[in-house]
């Protein structure tokens, strides 16, 4: 716990365990906290066109964390990239802290949505992509992160089934697959998206170069999903 509240510095991937430790009090973290860590890092470090200075820029890329439970990795990455002060992290979940056990966009700089109830992020991301297009901003990418069990929610299937045939190619979904769904999806997760006309890639969710390649794979005319497999939740 030697980290100081130096709000001007940014941190690297190797600092993330310490940043997580500020929230949890130790450096061992549950699956919900770390399943998203590498995906979030690669997105914020190498893919997303958004910085703290650009967080109100209409042409920024959007990242919507739909899987709002276990947001410590998200907060750690936002702190590492300078969206929120690292000094906020130790207050995690306390009355005066902006950082709750589910994120609130009204309280957290850089958070595009508040989440916690499952199945809301992808539909909102569809609207965000449509809104940017309608305002003549075809450049920004919209990313949404969901969990494999979260995919059970019917609202996601409404969004998947609409975005594919609509050719919403600025829409990107990352599904963190830690095998936490009770009922396996016949044919696998990607098949559901493929059937709706999405571009799909499945990768090792811990391999940064593989993630980067999957995130940046061209997908003209189609929305894109990256299924990032990580170790099973109860392994």
């Amino acid at each position: 716990m030697t980290l100081t509240a130096d709000d001007n510095r940014t941190y690297g991937y190797d600092d993330l365990p310490r940043l997580l430790g500020l929230m949890t009090g130790d450096e061992k973290h549950g699956p919900a906290a770390t399943s998203t860590l590498d995906v979030l890092w690669v997105l914020y470090d190498r893919v997303l066109g958004v910085t703290p200075e650009r967080r109100d820029d209409p042409a920024r890329d959007r990242f919507l964390l739909s899987k709002g439970h276990g947001p410590m990795a998200y907060y750690a990455v936002l702190a590492a990239k300078g969206f929120v002060p690292a000094a906020w992290l130790p207050g995690f979940g306390s009355y005066d802290s902006p950082l709750g056990h589910h994120p609130d966009r009204v309280l957290v700089p850089g958070a595009e949505i508040g989440s916690g109830s499952l199945g809301h992020g992808l539909p909102i991301a569809v609207g965000t992509a449509l809104g940017l297009r309608a305002q003549g901003l075809p450049g920004p990418a919209v990313w949404v992160l969901i969990g494999d069990a979260e995919l059970d929610e019917g609202s996601n299937h409404e969004a998947i089934a609409f975005a594919g045939p609509t050719g919403l190619d600025r829409l990107h979904t990352v599904v963190i697959d830690n095998s936490s769904a009770s009922h396996a999806r016949p044919g696998g997760i990607a098949a559901r998206f493929e059937a709706a006309g999405w571009s799909t890639v499945s990768v090792d969710g811990r391999d940064h170069d593989a993630l980067y390649a999957a995130f940046t794979a061209p997908h003209p005319g189609r929305p894109h999903v990256v299924v990032a497999r990580v170790e099973p939740k109860d392994a």
Partner: protein
């Protein structure tokens, strides 16, 4: 006469032409009305198919990018089915939208209870910050739709119905209007209930207020009326009976008062038929209203006498 819903697509189409921030989001219902406008504004006329959760989520996403979404389907599918999306995607995200419903409480009685939503306004009452317009005439619907779209990033619900008063009145999107002044009680007629209330109260010494915007509730207007006509209040609402009794009680919390909430009964009727038959079954036709209003006011006078008031 055309219906309020007949005005919806033409009015919103003009707003789409006038204001590049306006977008309309549909779930099949009402899509025909926007076919031509959709060719002019293909990116701002969005039909998500029969997907009501996505309907609201999409509107929220549009709003978060700075657009002003107008969302339309039947009240059952707009407010009730995706209620958590209304609560979280709009309320919790701090995103605004204009929700415009049709079918109301029993616009299509032959269609049965699946297409009735008498509880829509009561349900929205569990949320914070919603403006609720209940026009009583197509002309008023047009005015209130324009108010709703122009209301910055507010969350606004506009409840359209085929039930209508014979003539439209000047509405301002906020205040109750005094239609008749009396000294022995106040009757608040909401939206399409006005004609029936005026027929029911003919010759009675009561003040009749006409309300087409019920949230926020016009506290000052009600207090002015009760100051002159006494604190006996009858609400006549075209949705669930008693929906606004809490608003009346709050408005008059510092004054001894009585309130009677009339409207659609909670118990499912399980009848088809016509609108008129349903109005009668809920005791909302002029004859039934007159009996209920006079009985209530008379009971108040009896109480006042027995308590020496």
């Amino acid at each position: 006469m055309d219906t309020m819903r007949d005005r919806f697509a033409p009015v919103v189409s003009r707003l789409l032409d006038e204001d590049p921030r306006v977008a309309v989001v549909l779930a099949e219902i009402g899509a025909d009305g926007f076919r031509e406008t959709g060719r002019r504004h293909p990116d701002r006329v969005i039909n998500v198919g029969i997907r009501e959760q996505l309907l609201i989520g999409t509107a929220a996403g549009l709003a978060l990018t700075g657009l002003r979404p107008v969302v339309h389907t039947f009240a059952s599918f707009l407010v009730e089915r995706p209620f958590e999306q209304v609560k979280l995607d709009l309320g919790h995200q701090d995103a605004g939208a204009v929700l415009v419903s049709a079918a109301a409480s029993f616009d299509w009685p032959a269609g049965g209870f699946t297409h009735m939503a008498p509880g829509d306004v009561a349900l929205l009452d569990t949320l914070d910050g919603w403006t609720v317009h209940v026009p009583g005439h197509p002309d008023e619907a047009e005015t209130l739709l324009r108010h709703a779209v122009a209301a910055g990033e507010d969350k606004v619900y506009v409840r359209l119905s085929v039930q209508s008063n014979r003539q439209g009145r000047a509405v301002d999107g906020g205040h109750f209007h005094t239609v008749h002044e009396g000294r022995s009680g106040v009757v608040v007629a909401v939206g399409p209930m006005l004609d029936a209330v005026l027929a029911a109260t003919r010759g009675l010494d009561v003040t009749v207020l006409y309300a087409t915007t019920v949230r926020p509730f016009d506290v000052a207007g009600l207090r002015r009326a009760t100051a002159a006509a006494g604190p006996d209040v009858v609400l006549v609402e075209p949705y669930l009976a008693g929906t606004s009794t809490a608003a009346v009680s709050e408005a008059l919390s510092d004054v001894p008062h009585r309130v009677l909430g009339l409207g659609v009964g909670r118990r499912e009727l399980r009848r088809y038929g016509t609108i008129e038959e349903h109005v009668a079954a809920h005791g909302l036709d002029p004859a039934a209203l007159r009996g209920r209003i006079t009985g209530y006011l008379a009971a108040g006078r009896t109480t006042a006498l027995t308590t020496g008031g």
